[in-house]
């Protein structure tokens, strides 16, 4: 009798232990980091992921339409070169391979500011939905980085003048709003770089050139 009770005690403890070990392993595997966020931060994650999902859904719809139209055109035996050209132009415009134009903003920067500040500004522009960005006429694409200390900034081996311009295409209202909001990137830069002057001007038309970089990888191969 006594022995049975002991066995039950050992069984109970090891069972609890097993459950705990599994729970620990699963919690680590399933949601890394999410459980460490506050309710406010989680709301922000949800808002961001939600917005992205809407964009992805729109992309899926557009691709499905493209596939359907192209399938129909080819089934009729018609030429689809017009559609191919349209698809090509959309990708080239997005990737920075051709010059683009549209509404947007111009940011004039002068004074004491280093490359970190400029990269922060570019990051915020992308976050606010900028579709094309140029720094002093140089299109910003993957691989194009503004570097150097204050007073010696460069982009693509070209030194930037003391006063230079960043142009971006996107909603002038949204771009201006997110840059200049209180506590936003320009307010932060003003606090850390008191000797820099940054002004934002919304514009109806901004023209941004194509990149001069060869963006097709030379050292890597497409893979499935």
């Amino acid at each position: 009798m006594k022995r049975t009770r002991r066995r039950w005690a050992v069984t109970a403890v090891t069972a609890v232990l097993g459950v705990l070990v599994v729970a620990q392993l699963r919690s680590q595997a399933a949601t890394p980091g999410l459980s460490a966020l506050s309710a406010q931060e989680l709301t922000l994650v949800i808002a961001n992921v939600n917005t992205r999902n809407e964009q992805l859904r729109a992309e899926v719809d557009a691709l499905e339409r493209q596939v359907a139209t192209l399938t129909a055109t080819l089934a009729r035996g018609d030429s689809a070169t017009g559609q191919l050209r349209f698809d090509l132009a959309a990708i080239e415009a997005w990737a920075g391979l051709i010059a683009v134009t549209g509404p947007g903003i111009s940011i004039r920067i002068s004074g004491d500011i280093g490359s970190e500040g400029i990269e922060g500004l570019l990051n915020e522009l992308r976050n606010a939905g900028a579709e094309a960005i140029a720094v002093e006429g140089v299109r910003i694409v993957p691989g194009t980085v503004v570097y150097g200390a204050s007073g010696a900034l460069s982009v693509e081996n070209t030194p930037l003048p003391a006063s230079f311009e960043i142009e971006a295409i996107g909603s002038p209202q949204i771009l201006t709003g997110s840059l200049t909001r209180s506590g936003g990137v320009i307010a932060q830069l003003a606090a850390t770089n008191p000797d820099a002057a940054i002004s934002v001007t919304p514009l109806e038309a901004v023209s941004i050139p194509a990149t001069e970089r060869d963006l097709v990888p030379g050292d890597a191969q497409p893979s499935l």
């Binding site: 899926v60 941004i208 097709v216």
Partner: protein, 249 residues
């Protein structure tokens, strides 16, 4: 001493087993608490549905990304089968292939480096011991300057439209939620690592940020690094091809 050993031998085996089990239990609880580190644990009840919602949306996002990649492959196959004037179609398809490759819409494999970037092991309550979006942007920037041709952060391709933002103690890349440890993959020339470690900017980043705060940055140089394709939207709402500019370079 001998009496202690005798008493030990006299103990029933189940008590020894129980003691052992309780030891492991205590160890697990301590490990769990220690693993929390500087990441604050919130306990409010309202968070559980929020986490569930975030996870559900994240799963939806993964599914949408797969769907986009499949549709793109389907479209590319259809475009390649266009029966019109051969020379024009061949030229257009070649241009499309180049544009997709240049824009990061294609997964690529080549020589490169894989970094693992983690918070400091004993960062305690010092937030400087956490890897921030700024740290990731610095590393990515140095990799570009060293000649990297394609970069991804935990499977999210860095494109012309990619922003890296802080969210709590994690980051958002292409609006996708990524938690540490961060795996940053870069493909580029075979001497990418030499170029990177030889640059003043990278040395400053290691000496001024990584080492003083104990951030853990490890790497492996590999012959075959695969960088994922960008599975997001490439449609512009505001930007249009500029007819005033000269033809495609």
């Amino acid at each position: 001493m001998s009496t202690f050993l005798e008493r030990m031998r006299a103990l029933p085996s189940w008590q020894v087993t129980l003691t052992g089990a309780l030891f492991v239990l205590g160890f697990l609880i301590a490990a769990q608490l220690a693993a929390e580190g500087p990441r604050i644990r919130y306990t409010s009840q309202e968070r559980t549905p929020l986490i569930e919602t975030a996870l559900g949306l994240q799963r939806r996002q993964d599914a949408l990304q797969v769907q986009i990649l499949e549709l793109r492959a389907q479209l590319a196959a259809l475009e390649a089968s266009e029966p019109g004037s051969e020379a024009i179609v061949r030229e257009l398809n070649a241009a499309l292939d180049r544009a997709r490759l240049a824009g990061g819409l294609v997964q690529i494999t080549g020589p490169g480096i894989v970094f693992r970037f983690e918070d400091a092991a004993n960062s305690g309550s010092v937030s400087d011991g956490l890897v921030t979006s700024h740290d990731i942007r610095s590393l990515v920037g140095e990799l570009w300057l060293a000649g990297a041709e394609a970069i991804s952060i935990n499977g999210e391709r860095v494109t012309t439209a990619t922003a890296v933002l802080d969210i709590g103690n994690a980051v958002l890349v292409n609006s996708a939620y990524l938690a540490p440890p961060y795996e940053i993959r870069a493909v580029g020339p075979s001497d990418l690592y030499e170029r990177l470690t030889g640059s003043a900017g990278f040395v400053d980043f290691i000496r001024g940020r990584v080492e003083p705060y104990g951030l853990r940055l490890s790497f492996a140089e590999l012959d075959d690094v695969t960088v994922a394709a960008y599975a997001g939207t490439v449609r512009s709402r505001y930007a249009r091809p500029d007819p005033a500019a000269s033809a495609t370079p």
